[in-house]
Amino acid sequence: MTLLGLILLPLVGAAVAWIVGRSRPTAPRFVAIVTSVAVFGLAIAALVQVLQSGDHALSATTKGMLLVLDGLSLPLVLLTGLLGVVAVTASWAMTDRPGVHHALLLALEAAVMTVFLAGDLILFYVGWEAVLIPMFFLIGGWGHENRRHAALKFFLYTFVGSVLMLAGLIVVMMTVKSTVIGAPTTAIDLATQSWLFWLVAIGMLVKIPVFPLHTWLPDAHVEAPTAGSIMLAGVLLKMGGYGLMRVAIPYAPAGFAAASPVLGAFGSAGIIYGALMAFAQVDLKRLVAYSSVAHMGFVVLGIATGTALGYAAAMLAMVSHGLVSALLFLLVGSLYERTHTREIARFGGLGARTPRWGGLFVFAALASLGLPGLSGFPGELLAMIQGFGAFGWWMVFAAIGALLGAVYNLSAVRRVVHGERAPEWDALADITRSDTIAAIVLCVGIVVIGVVPGLVLRLTDPAVTLLVRALGGGS
């Protein structure tokens, strides 16, 4: 029942926040914080239940829905719970229609939970689409100058992708004759698998986003409010990676095997491309958005290797990117609230003026460039060495991408935090208390996963081995 609670609780919270918001504008954020903390607590309860259960999985069914929680979805559910809390704290000082804002945030969290918990393909797709609606209104409602275009572009781009995925899912349901997600009893014949994999995977690749299909991300991020960005980068992008491992690969293993070199190539290209684009940015938030493209390149690379360690790398990279990008967006958002500009050129010497913010930003930059000891490194290392095993010398590009990662992160630090103090910001206040608490929570998460990645891997181990055995893949 905890699984159903994970979906219903945020929905109820959203309704309450919306209703309360109409009468007292300050109340909804308390409703939101209570609900999101409760959801996170529920997620931890689910974790405990999964650990205790024999086969490392938890399932709950109602007549219409089948919910499953196992190794693959557990870390992401926990991440969603955590980022839900962080998103609410990040938008603590929100004065522009707080009720509706927090309601949409919680509704978004509920929709994402549905995707991660969905046990059958229809529910998976319903959750996949339902995520678009709150995000559309968040970007549209609280965005900045170019929000109208960005909101529609975001919705349309991902919607076309996921509609193609629906076509693929329909073909899958048709041939396998059952909608329950899991390795198909009657394997789909090889001929259809080759194009079926791409049809099903296209929606997910758009969501990740993989290199050529990424242009909706920067526009969506730049326009989304801070809380929206945190959820968009922290959790929505993971649906793509999760979808690949949960749906696309088990149903079309041969198709995946044929497609993995292409996926690996696009993954590595994404790493370099994202880093190069981030380096060229003038707008701080757009820089962080492109860094997401770079980090998710590692996820695609990890998945493309098709090995147990590869999937582990993808899971680690996804969880770490969730934390790191949430931290970065939190910091950029809090800076924007105080300075009302995102232009890197106008910043300078903020380390002196706002030491707390500066310190956190340097930490976030180091985590983002994959410094060992922080959460980025294990995922990237595994993806690279497994990638080398699968694709050989193509990994030079991924390694160069990692190097470029350091380039853009450190140049951002140099231009924003270090250097001469821009006179413009003499009266700039440091980061607010609520944002600091949220940031500290994320930093602790980043360090813990960086030092002991085994925590995540122990959770994903049973599910990944099952997945690999089902595909007859390598170690």
Partner: protein, 498 residues
Amino acid sequence: MSFAQIMEFLRPMLSIGWLPAAVACSAAVAGLVADMFDAEKTGVAIVAGGLAIAALVSFGAAIIPVSASTTLITTTFGLVMTGGAFAGLACIVYLTAFLSCGTGLFSLRAGSRASAAALIGAGAAAGQVLLGASDILVLFIALELLALIAYALVASGGNDRSDEAAARYFVQGSVATGLAVLGVAVLVGLSAGASGYVELGTSLASMVPGAALLGGMLLVSALAFKLGAFPFHSWVPDAYETAPAGTAAFLAASVKAAAIGGFTLLLVRLMTIPAFLPLVMAVRIIAAASIVFGNLAALKQTSVGRMLGYSAIAQVGYVLVGAGVSPISTESVAAVFLFAATYAMGAATAFVALEFFATGEPTWDGSIGGLAGIASKHPAVSGALTVALLSMTGIPLTAGFWGKFFVFYGAAQNGLLWLVITGLVGSAISFAYYGRVIRSMYIDVSATGNEVAAEQGSDVAPRVRAWPSLIGAAVVLFAGIAPLIWGLSLVYALFAFR
């Protein structure tokens, strides 16, 4: 008294198939009488009440199994009596007609509201007849009756533009009627005057294939015209744009649902013999063309009504994807009926909401831009319109998704993957224009700032005029979420063939 006991009590009454039609017609007549005594508002109310009752009755007939009683009348309306899918769709026809009248038709001129309501009542009854016709002549008569009512309703706008649209609609309609008559003539003529589906079916089998095909194609084209599918679509945008929103709701929703029902029945009952297989190929071509044309043309529109017109063409395309399945089976018909129901509900809710806006803000010129920032003034109704638009796009958590899902599932099972992908990409592109309306309502700031404009439009408080769109949205949302909770069996029960 549990639900079952109530149903048990109602069972004998529900078995009379024609009861809903009777109630609707009598309400229409009563409405006209009230109009004579200048009690216009009561007239509209009477018709609305009648339609509501008819909807409830047919819903009851759809849910509980009814034994087909064999009186004279039932033979001609035979199919309606068996309940199941037909009663379900009939319920939708009545419900949408009820919503249309429920708005009070304030956007029409004062004098003509009651008469329009009466027309809608009669039209709904004709719709059920068209839906349940078991005889080709009955089908033809119902078709023409609906056509005439439609011409009148489009003209009810009372301005030059609606007159012009009605006249043009009439000209095309008459060409289509000519084709229909020719078709009937060929088919019934060659089968020695036997017009019942059953007899006609047998004689068709032995008829010269060429003539059968010609007759069949003529009928298919006539019905395609009524549906507004691609080659025969030209009247749809003009009619939806100029007709007042209330009557447009009736035209877009219940007339279309009935026509879809009639069309599918024609295919199911009449054209199962192999000779008619090529017809199905034509249906598929029409479907793809309608989807492509409808979605593309709607992109550029500025008037919401006209855009909904073009989107209606696209939606018909999706229906025909479901109907164009070669071994047309009970599941595929159920899917088509389900889609027709969800689309009708969505379209009705949308138009009813437009009616609310039209009568609320007289300054609204019917354009998308005109709706800017209206969500802050009328959150409830704009919410209803958003739900309707999302349903028509096919976004999950709304009924529209299930409609599209089953239609495309059926088509995929039939191996028509190219049609499925055209349809799906079409429905994705559809958000480009549906989304623009939602965006302008919620995201754009209205030119006149968002202070609450005084309600000078209709003389009735907004709260009264808003309930139809809210009911529509509630049904659409409930139908979207219910299958997730109680499973898909509920959906099948409503539209299964019995």
